[in-house]
Every structure is written in C-alpha cells, then in structure tokens.
Amino acid sequence: MSRTLLSGNEAVAQGAWAAGASVGAGYPGTPSTEALESFARKTGVYAEWAPNEKVALEVVSGASFGGARAIATMKHVGLNVAADPLFTLAYTGVGGGIVIFVADDPGMHSSQNEQDSRNYAAFARVPLLEPSDSQEALYFTKRAFEISEEFDIPVLVRSTVRLSHAKGLVETGERRVPERDEYQKDLGKWVMMPAMARCRRADLDRRVADLAAFGETTDLNSVEIRDRSVGIVCGGVVYEYVREALPEVSVLKLGMTFPLPPALVRSFAEQVDTVYTIEEADPYLDRQLRQLGIEPGTLDLPAAGELSPGAIRRAFGMAEPELREPEEGLPARPPMMCPGCPHRPVFATLRKLHAVVTGDIGCYTLGALPPLSAMDSCVCMGASLGMAHGMSLVGGAGEKRPVVGVIGDSTFAHSGVTGLMDMVYNGGNATVVILDNRITAMTGHQGNPINGVTLQNRTSRELELEPLVRALGVEHVRTVDPHEMASVEEALREAIDFDGVSVLITRAPCALLVREHPTPYAVDVDACTACGVCIRLGCPAISKADLSKADIDVSLCVGCGQCVQVCRYGAIVHTGPACDLGDV
C-alpha cells in the first residue's frame, strides 16, 4: 500500500473528503489554515472562507440541516467567535454530520493566548476527538462524521500545532458519499425557543450518556498494558511523546476525550500501580479523572507551553543526554515587516504624531515592535475599534495625544464593522485607520470579502470599503497610498483633527504580492550623516554599518522608496540589481 506524506491538517481534509463531506467553511488562523485550503482542492466539494468563524459554523449548520455532511475549520480563538452557534447546535443536533476542526497553539507560536479548546467540549457537551498523528487525523475525522450522525450531535476534532504542522505517512483511501436525507420541517429539533430547547436540553444529556457508553468500547480509545508500575492517560500528539520517552510504560490512549468512558478509565487505573495524566495547556484530563474518584500522581511538568519527549523523560528522572554548551547572549530574532511592506509608513507616521494606537491582529501587529513601536494594544480580532472608542471616551490618552484604532482589511471584515458601527451610533470621536493590503497576509495570503478572491476561485466582487464605511455613517472618509508618506501624514492629521469619527483607508498591495520590483537603492556614504532616520523605519534591508552610517543590503531591497522619502540628505540613491540572473 503506498503511503503519502501529509500534514495533520491535510489529513483532516482527506478524512472529511473520504467521509463524503460536501461543504467546508472556515476562517484562516494558524495552525488550522491548511485544513480548509487542502479540502478546497478536492473534487466534488464546495469550500469557502467566511468573514469569520461564527459565520463559517452557521454556513456548515445550514448545510447539515439540509442533509449534507459539512466541516468547519478554525484556530482555537476562532472557536470563541463560533461558540454562540456551537452551544445551541449541541441541542439541535445535526442533519448531515457536522465536524468542527479546531487547532490549538500551545506555546503560542502564532497566537495571542493558549486557551485549551478541550474545555469547550465539556462546556458545550459535544464529543471531542483527539488524533495523535496524520494517519489518525484522517481516520478520526472520518469517524467523527459517523459519530455526529449516529448520536445526532456536532463533533469537535481537536488538533495542536504539532499535529497540524507535523507530517507523517498516511494511507489515504477512497471517498464514499452517504445517502442524504431530505430536509424535514421539525420545530422541536431545529427551532430552539425555550419550550423546545428545554426538551432538547434533556435529550442532550441522554446523547452524552450514550456517547460515554460508546467510549467504553470504541476503537478510538485503546489500552496498552506494558510495565504495570506506571500507567499514563493521554491523548493527541502527547501520546507520541509518551511512546518516545517511555516505551515501556502502560498507556490509556484516549482518542475521544469527551465524554470519558468511566469504566475503561477505572479499569486501567486498577491495572497499574500509579496512574498519571500527561497533557499540554490545561489539566483537563486530570480534572476528569478526579471527578471519577481517581487520584493521578503528580509530575514535575511545565503548566504552560509545549511538552516534548525530553520534558517527559525529565519528569520521570531519566538520564539527560550529554549536551554541548549552549551559546549565550545571542541577539533575538523577532519576526518583522517585509521590505516594501505598505504597513510600515503608516506606523512610522503614527509614531511621529505620538498617537495612542489601539491595535489589532495581522502582519501589522509587528508595528508594535522596535523600532516602530507604534502600537499600544493587541487583544483579539476586531478589538482595535471598540477599544479606540472606549479609550477616547475617557480621554485616556491625555489632551495632546490622539487615539487611533488600526485594523487590517481582513480583520475589519471579520469583526471590525460592528465596532465602527458602535462608534458612529454612539457619537464617538476616535480615528480609524484601515490598512487595506488587499489580502489576509499573516496567515499566508487568503482571499477575503474585501478583495473578493474566493477559496475555490469562484467569481465574486470586491467590497468597496469607502461606500461601506460611509453607509455606516462616517462623514470623514479618505483613502491614500501608504507608500506616499507625505500624503499619509497629511491625511492622518486631517482625520485626527476632524470632530467625530474619521476613517483613513491606506491601500496598497502586500509587498509579497508585488512581483515586479523597481531597482534597489544604495547609500551614498559621503552624503549620509548617520542621523538614523532611515534605520527607525525598521526595514530588514537597512542596517547601521561602520561609523553608524546606513547600509542597504541590495539582495533584500525591493526598491519601494520609503527610506528615500525620510532621508533629508538625499543619501539614498539608485544602484544595480544584486544577483543579476534575470527572472529565476
């Protein structure tokens, strides 16, 4: 049997496709993004990026009520946005199977928090499957659809970054599309008004009890008895770490971590001398074992961040490998805006104007880091606008400093529109900058409702921001090219001075979308006075050379000319290309 190298995300897509899912909807977010991208490339499926995760889950619910199998994909914080439909979908149950794929980010490689999505399963009372590698990601996703229909409930499939972005060998298999039931009008099931919801609430408890009974015998859970002195309860990729670190111990591998099968867990605990739980993020399994009256042993493992085989070996007092001396004192290498990034001039200007900037999430969050240091807050997607309004209400920035909310195009579509609506509705006075770089850049260049590029390249249309913003009631709306720094400054000053809500749209494509580059620049060392203004743009191509004069790395420079505009000495001049090989 030939096996393909698939990431966990690709395997989830393969599993959904094999299960006959015909609709997929999601919103990008690391580490979940490739699941829907991969699903969208398969034959016989419809897939879309929705403006946000709540809408995505609602699209999926509609498809399910209409009889089709459907999958929603999102990162952990996306499930917060989709939580509202989730909780009630547990009541209604499904038509065609619903799988919600959620990818967590322990260690916060690309996220603003480390929330453990497993808690949502217990909170909303929906089953939770946790595959441990790519092969299981495929199989569990397929099974998740069957469980969803058999038990009439949406199923969460949870991944973490080391499953989503790890690759392993997978046997793929065929697609089988199940027979579809016609939509049946059924007030008691689909319309959750109090009287009907009360009935479904009771029914939910029955379904969860049935699922717990199913968990006792399902092949998703497995007991591996080896040495009986130590028994580990775990799930997800942590299982792989345990097998690597402690090949001799007994393991209860839980593929379904909500609801837990009480008899299976108790019998495992009885077969071993000491039972331990090993898990990342929250003590989720630990708490559930305690509820069953089992007291797990304590281990010295980190309470936050990621685990690894080494951390587990250490917790069991095993010999440490011989180590080379680590190299201390190296400079950190934070991510940064690319050369030619259209966000850069906006932040350089905001810094110049001493604005207090309530920020948002995207590539532009990098504007918070030195040397730009021009963003004061970042909480969750869409927060910039509500926060700008709240801060200006209390005059929190002081008399002299303007409050500016800064938000990307995709983020504005995701959850910024309502914030702006609020500001106008309630007579606010903050300034808003929409950074329209024509793409959802941070997560790897997805289309969005603003640029009108759809996931499967279906025809759409661009959403014009200016009329939308005006329709919300904003009187002062201006659009500038962010690469023209003088216009950015003039337009920003004007917007700040305006009495009432003002919106400045800065529009230029993401630097990574620009294929043709003008000639790069170089520094005329005789003209350079080492004033440092260009350095403070934070362009990766510009550094301080000897005697603190500026130096431009021609291999990185894309010739955007931002630095030329800030240099008062005419010291930045044209030069030839670096590696003169033409288009390769």
Binding site: R3, L5, T33, E34, H109, S110, D133, R162, H165, A166, K167, G168, L169, V237, E240, Y241, R243, E244, A245, P247, E306, S308, P309, G310, E320, P321, E322, L323, R324, E325, P326, E327, G329, L330, P331, A332, R333, P334, P335, M336, M337, C338, C363, L366, P370, P371, M442, T443, G444, I535, G538, P540, I542, S543, K544, S548, S555, C579, L581, V584
Partner: protein
C-alpha cells in the same frame, strides 16, 4: 528508537527551510522508512528564527526533538546555527551556510553585533558551505536550500537518484534544472572534502 535519525533545519523565516525539509522527508519515505516532520508556520515566517525537524527510521513516534538529540543540524544562517548548537549530539554533524543575516535588534543598534560566531561554530566542528554563492552558480539564487540538501545528502546514504526524483517532483517546474544543479553543486562540495567533519 536508537535507529531513528534526527535532522534539524534552521534558518530565518522565508529562507526555504520548509521546502528543503519536505524534500528530505520524501526521500526518506521513498527509501521505505517511517518519517515525521515538524515545522513552524505563521508569524515566525516573517523573518523570524525558524526550525524544521525531520526524523526517520524504522518507526518514528515524536515529530519534535530536544536538546542533545539532533544527529545533523543544517543551518541556513550562522547565528541560527549558534542558537541551536546545544541541540546537536556531541558526535552530531553541523553543516552551516556561511551567511549571516543580522536580526532587527542588531540592524537598529539595540543589540550588539555578535562577533566570532564562525570561530565558535568551527570549534564545535561545523563545516561551512557557501550555499548562496553555489545557488547563484546553479542559476537560481533561491536554490540555496537545495544546495544544502545536496551537502546533507552526502552524509545520509540515501540513493542519489531518489533525491533527484523527489526534487524534480517538488520544486516549481521552471526551476527543476537549476535545483538539480544546485543539489549537485552542494553534494560535490562535500565529495571534494570541503564539508567533511
């Protein structure tokens, strides 16, 4: 698990470590081995410090690794090699692209420029290869990642034709020739003894 080989590819986001790791993993799979790969997407790809781990052998469990467990560290950049030196087993191999990309705190003068990194790495037994230069010679400055795979291949024992097949299938069609040349140049540099331990 002692037969499992762990390779770490380190570099700066955007340097092509992910594609190189994918090629290596596919070569190992084509050779009939079990393989796992772990990479980092997202924020760090915007010029941050990145690494990708590829592990292959009879049966591989963990996709990630720990300090002191890496058999081959291939670094696309000098500072990133130094940052991960303690991951490499004492008897492990260190292959470093002789190129330094200064991080932002250095560019703007917030952190001192690290000096003598090459000497530190050489002391640790590192072998240097000018992958960017060889990539230009191969006809595509973007093929430095494949030059490094050529150099790595010399120490791994997989059949050269497997590498060529996987590279041809994996890189953009227009760049196949340049990438095969890049692989060859990297491998030859090692064959000539320029990257021996």
């Amino acid at each position: 698990m002692s037969d499992v080989v762990t390779v770490m590819l380190a570099g700066v986001g955007g340097q092509g470590t992910i594609l190189a790791a994918d090629v290596l993993a596919k070569v190992a799979a084509a050779a009939g081995l079990d393989v796992k790969l772990s990479e980092v997407h997202g924020m760090a790809q915007r010029g941050g410090s990145v690494d990708t781990v590829v592990r292959f052998g009879e049966r591989v469990y963990s996709p990630v690794t720990d300090p002191g467990m890496v058999d081959h560290l291939v670094s696309f950049e000098v500072i990133e090699a130094a940052r991960r030196i303690h991951y490499v087993k004492p008897e492990g191999r260190l292959l470093v692209n002789s190129r330094t990309v200064q991080p932002m705190p250095v560019l703007i003068g917030d952190s001192p420029t690290p000096f003598g990194m090459e000497a530190v790495l050489a002391d640790e037994g590192a072998v240097f290869i000018d992958a960017d230069e060889l990539a230009c010679e191969a006809g595509s400055p973007k093929s430095a990642n494949i030059v490094l795979m050529g150099a790595l291949s010399f120490g791994l024992g997989f059949d050269e034709t497997l590498w060529r097949e996987v590279i041809s299938a994996r890189v953009p069609p227009k760049t196949v020739e340049a990438n095969l040349r890049a692989f060859e140049l990297g491998r030859q540099a090692c064959e000539r003894g320029e990257c021996e331990l």
